[in-house]
């Protein structure tokens, strides 16, 4: 049915959830990343700012943190504190997928 082919329109692409990592300094400036170039840099900066803010406010509440695991329904963000900056991993979560924990890695950098 030719009419039904109307359903198959060319359309804008959907934003895929990113898989990769990035590093930001203590001001939130993006230093390096392994994420696809299609993922908006502005959104990376928003994530970075939020992570840094949580690290900073935790420290001022006498709760120094080394790592944050932020779990959304289909994305896991893991942030390691890095001398005031952060190393941030983004990993999409499938319905039955469990991502490895950074905390289980022997090379994890933990600062008191």
């Amino acid at each position: 049915m030719g009419l039904l082919r109307l359903f198959e329109k060319p359309a804008p692409t959907l934003l895929r959830l990113p898989s990769g990592s990035f590093t930001v300094d203590c001001r939130g400036v993006l230093l390096i990343d392994t994420l696809p170039s299609t993922f908006p840099r502005a959104l990376l900066c928003e994530i970075a700012q939020q992570v840094l803010k949580v690290f900073r406010e935790a420290a001022s509440a006498q709760l120094p943190l080394a790592e944050l695991n932020i779990r959304y329904a289909s994305l896991k963000i893991t942030a390691c504190e890095l001398r005031g900056g952060a190393l941030v991993f983004l990993a999409p979560l499938g319905l039955a997928q469990e991502q490895p924990r950074i905390s289980d890695c022997p090379t994890r950098a933990v600062r008191a």
Partner: protein, 355 residues
């Protein structure tokens, strides 16, 4: 808010292609419930319509410029939780299907390409329109979990019911109308069944029957339902000032190894409703609320579904932030524990609270 018309359900169609909107309008006009159909050419227009008019169902294309369908659905699930949502796509991609369901859409459907697919699509929409929008278990909104179990047992069904309540998941095995087993959070059999029955709201889905599942429950289902109802009634009459679940939870929390403190905060308030184990609970409460609010603010931009849990790991203590019902929980754990232990025990804390 205006009352929704019961006589003619209202559907909002969202797509950036006006030709397709017209086609959908014609197709959906054939539904037996004779819905009123409104169209929107963009996510922003859909949002504006939802603010001013009541709809029972929204059918949204995923691929749209500026605000894509996942972003629209993410916002709508938060702002209009009672609205039924259907994600329509021509993208054959498991990632988008997973993400759409993670956002809580009721139906993810590939755009129909044949008459048979159109017929099935319309049947599904009609079914969604027919469901009530009151609280309870999603998938059968007007029914309680007790109703669902009774319904399945009375109809001699064989299936597995998977029930989700926040981070908690449980399963009930029903074989030829008999409840044969239950499982949640390390418990099996009757204790698991009573635990699951204590959840007030949640989602459920049916899975294929597992006839080989060994029978762990021998009591008849109606006896077990009665026991659960009695236990819940007794629990309600024993409530203290801390609110639902608090006395039982408080007693149980002290038995959980490694826990340092618990704060339960009403959304948007820094003064904890429950505070145990902390001297300066306001300060920690403020940090918890700010952190949760900050990460929730990213939900819609990411289109990755709702924030489920934040684990903050430190040298002095670990802290887990999680939402349960209308409360935000902030739970402190000893730093000697690893994240796997914290995660497992956190489920116990939430299970205690759900009771």
């Amino acid at each position: 808010m205006r009352k929704e018309s019961r006589a003619r359900p209202r559907i909002l169609l969202v797509d950036d292609d006006p030709d397709l909107l017209e086609m959908y309008r014609d197709l959906l006009g054939q539904l037996p419930s004779e819905p009123e159909i409104q169209t929107a050419g963009s996510g922003a227009r859909a949002m504006a319509l939802l603010e001013t008019e009541d709809f029972r169902l929204m059918v949204c294309d995923l691929r749209m410029p500026r605000m894509d369908g996942l972003q629209v659905l993410s916002i709508v699930r938060r702002t209009h939780p009672q609205l039924r949502t259907v994600a329509l796509t021509s993208v054959l991609d498991e990632e988008f299907r997973s993400r759409a369901y993670a956002l809580g859409v009721d139906l993810f459907w590939q755009k129909p390409g044949s008459e048979e697919e159109i017929r099935m699509f319309l049947e599904c929409l009609e079914s969604l329109l027919g469901r009530e929008t009151e609280g309870g278990f999603r998938g059968m909104q007007s029914k309680s979990l007790v109703d669902i179990i009774q319904l399945e047992c009375l109809s001699q069904s064989s299936l597995v019911l998977r029930i989700t309540n926040g981070n908690l998941t449980g399963k009930l095995w029903i074989q030829e109308g008999q409840l044969i087993d239950a499982e949640t959070d390390g418990q099996r059999g009757e204790p698991a069944f009573h635990q699951i029955l204590s959840w007030q709201t949640g989602h459920f889905e049916t899975l294929p029957a597992e006839p080989s599942r060994p029978r762990a429950i021998t009591k008849p289902y109606n006896g077990l339902l009665l026991e659960s109802a009695q236990a819940l009634d007794e629990g309600r009459t024993g409530l203290g000032s801390d609110g639902p679940g608090a006395p039982a939870a408080a007693a149980g929390l002290s038995e959980i190894e490694g826990i340092e403190f618990v704060l339960a905060l009403q959304h948007g308030q820094t003064t904890p409703r429950i505070a145990r184990g902390l001297e300066d609970s306001k300060r920690m409460g403020a940090w918890a609320q700010q952190s949760l609010a900050g990460f929730r603010s990213l939900e819609e931009r990411l289109g990755a579904g709702p924030l489920e849990q934040v684990e903050a790991l430190g040298s002095r203590r670990h802290v887990v932030l999680v939402e349960q019902g209308d409360l935000d929980f902030c739970v402190g754990w000893k730093p000697s524990m690893n994240v796997g232990q914290v995660r497992t025990l956190m489920k116990k804390v939430l299970a205690l609270w759900a009771c």
